[in-house]
Subunit: 390 residues, 2 copies
């Protein structure tokens, strides 16, 4: 098979007018934190649109929408999340968003004064900082280890006088490290938030995408216990398709209410009510549940293929096998600068560790995504990485 | 007919789970700047969705979208706008937005430092200030008269040391006054922007909705002449439906490029690519053009019915007959406080002038919308206003 690929078997690719990032044939781009084109359920979204819009639906879905979103959609979402999280989620705790990239901007404007500081895991999602910076916020990093945010380091930063408006964390299957925030640490983080009066903004797109037999990891909200210290942001981007631009905020109603007072919502009404109406159908029909099950099987197998190939072809690589999410965080030999490595690569792309770093030096790390390519392509990608290193 | 209404003929109403603002039966709410429910083209949006999504479209429309939007959509939009505006619009000048309420937030973050000042027409769209305030900006008002922004007053404000990041104007059929910015003033405003280094953010949802036989009013962009001083925001909210949450930014490519560097777009890709794909079909099929023609006929007749009723029942009212847009701005007897009037009303709502004011005292004015109700309902609304005043 490897011979076939080397001989020109077409790789998964995407390009053309619709996409933010093209993946030209011949290159394996392990930087792409996107579902494979083949996993995007356009036909089902089309069927849902037909049922909700063409089939004599309520024209008022085209009017300025109820600020928090359609209560029936929020009810269906709450039931789905309660099941996916393994703990209860109430409709009153939910507000519809236009996806997490957009929500982070509105959350920044609502919960942080311009010029304020945000504390983020280090390393973190490499494009989140740009959203914070566009909102006029500055970002400080606190290291994350295999059990999540390093709270000793956070306490040290707080003791030094840094007063964060919020701490931005990705508790489940973190981007880029894949780490999960231990429950004890999560509870301690909420206690710290209470003591130092900051909000915890939890970016949680991967919770439903777990690949081991453990119980559902759940949302950071399970540790909030009514204290209104956690604002969790979820998204359909990694479950149905990023182009839907649909997600949710999940928090105590008083935080949801505060977010809903943003001028954009008071003026324009609910974010993306038509898309929410379409997605509503995919929840109630059971499609979303079935599709996520399929994603878990596909992505779980891809994660295994990637890590097996790493063990075989890059035996010096240090990594934790991903238990969920989209990414594997790989430490290469410390003498390697992964940005220089990337510069030399002609048929392989990845995200060098330094791009994910906030304040740390992570030059020898790489973030490899296993969401976009099929198993044999991931194996070939790792072979190319091994050749590049050697 | 009036007797029938008084006797209980049901009025246009809306309510239920989907809407931001309900209009209960029995009350005439002339504050509603929304299309009538009967004018929302759900069936056509459903057909377009079916054609684009269910009919074997490209699944990549569900991927993270090209930051500025699908170039083919932008091309179709440019052609439609060139026709609606009566002057050329190029695809390279366009970026897809999630509607103007959202775009104003991202424009504020991109083109104004936190704490900066925005100058706005006084009176202005009463919910725009909330968007600016959520972005940490402060707002100063400059009076608008029947020919648009008072540039003498603006120059006085500039001379006093105010340095606006941008001047926010609604050049065509202004909300709430219905005024149109005279071309000479528009050109002078651009010259002032050049001299004092500010941007002009033009909110232009009503340009296509003109009800007289004049030539198309066009966009503020026709006066920019390549100087990159104008950023025009357009929207499908008043043309197809607010719930679509779809609009566009229209400016010189270097301004569009700067807006597209916002962290939210770099992370999440294009705003609302799936909805843009659906609306694309309504442009290319000719539906949008036909629908806007229908809106012009319907709204034009409603504007005439409203102003005729005002002349008959509130002869002391001062107003300019609307030539386009959604609103009629009515000066009542100066002894009247329209907020107190509204407090006394049981079967009538409207927007009191003071809500639209920035710095001026406009207590005796009311903003009446003619977009939501049918002609006979508007007449009955004016009768109720007359009874309330007397």
């Amino acid at each position: 098979l490897a011979a076939l690929i080397a001989g020109g078997l077409p790789l998964t690719s995407q390009g053309g007018r619709f996409v933010q990032t093209s993946a030209p044939p011949g290159v394996i781009n392990l930087g792409l934190g996107q579902p494979s084109p083949g996993l995007l359920p356009l036909a089902e979204i089309g069927r849902a649109a037909q049922a909700q819009l063409a089939g004599g639906g309520d024209p008022l879905v085209l009017q300025y929408g109820a600020v928090l979103g359609d209560p029936e959609f929020r009810g269906s979402l709450a039931r789905w999340l309660s099941d996916a999280y393994g703990h209860p989620v109430a409709a009153e705790q939910l507000m519809v968003t236009a996806g997490t990239s957009s929500a982070l901007s509105f959350v920044s404007q609502t919960f942080a004064a311009p010029g304020a500081t945000v504390v983020s895991e280090d390393p973190t999602y490499f494009l989140a900082n740009g959203v914070f910076q566009s909102a006029g916020l500055s970002v400080r990093g606190v290291p994350i280890d295999e059990h999540g945010l390093d709270l000793v380091a956070l306490e040290r930063l707080l003791a030094s006088g840094v007063r964060p408006a919020f701490v931005y964390v990705i508790p489940a299957y973190q981007n880029p490290t894949g780490a999960c925030l231990q429950p004890e640490r999560a509870r301690e983080l909420v206690a710290l938030a209470d003591r130092h009066d900051f909000l915890i903004v939890a970016d949680e797109p991967y919770v439903a995408l777990r690949y081991d037999d453990s119980a559902p990891f759940g949302s950071m909200m399970r540790h909030d216990e009514g204290r209104a210290r956690v604002l969790s942001l979820g998204s359909f981007s990694k479950l149905l398709g990023p182009g839907l631009r649909l997600g949710w905020a999940h928090a105590e109603p008083k935080l949801i209410e505060r977010l809903s007072l943003h001028g954009t919502l008071r003026s324009g009404g609910c974010f993306n009510p038509v898309i929410a109406n379409i997605v509503h159908h995919t929840i109630d029909s059971g499609f979303l549940t079935a599709h996520v099950e399929q994603l878990r099987a596909v992505f779980g197998a891809r994660a295994s293929a990637l890590t097996a190939a790493l063990r075989e072809h890059v035996p010096s690589a240090r990594f934790e096998p991903p238990r969920g999410g989209y990414f594997c965080w790989v430490g290469l030999d410390e003498s390697i600068d992964s940005e220089a490595l990337l510069d030399r690569a002609t048929d392989l792309r990845f995200i060098p560790g330094r791009r994910c770093a906030v304040e740390r030096a992570l030059a020898s790390f790489v973030r490899l995504s296993f969401s976009f390519y099929e198993e044999h392509e991931l194996v070939e990608g790792v072979r190319r990485l091994a050749r590049l290193i050697s």
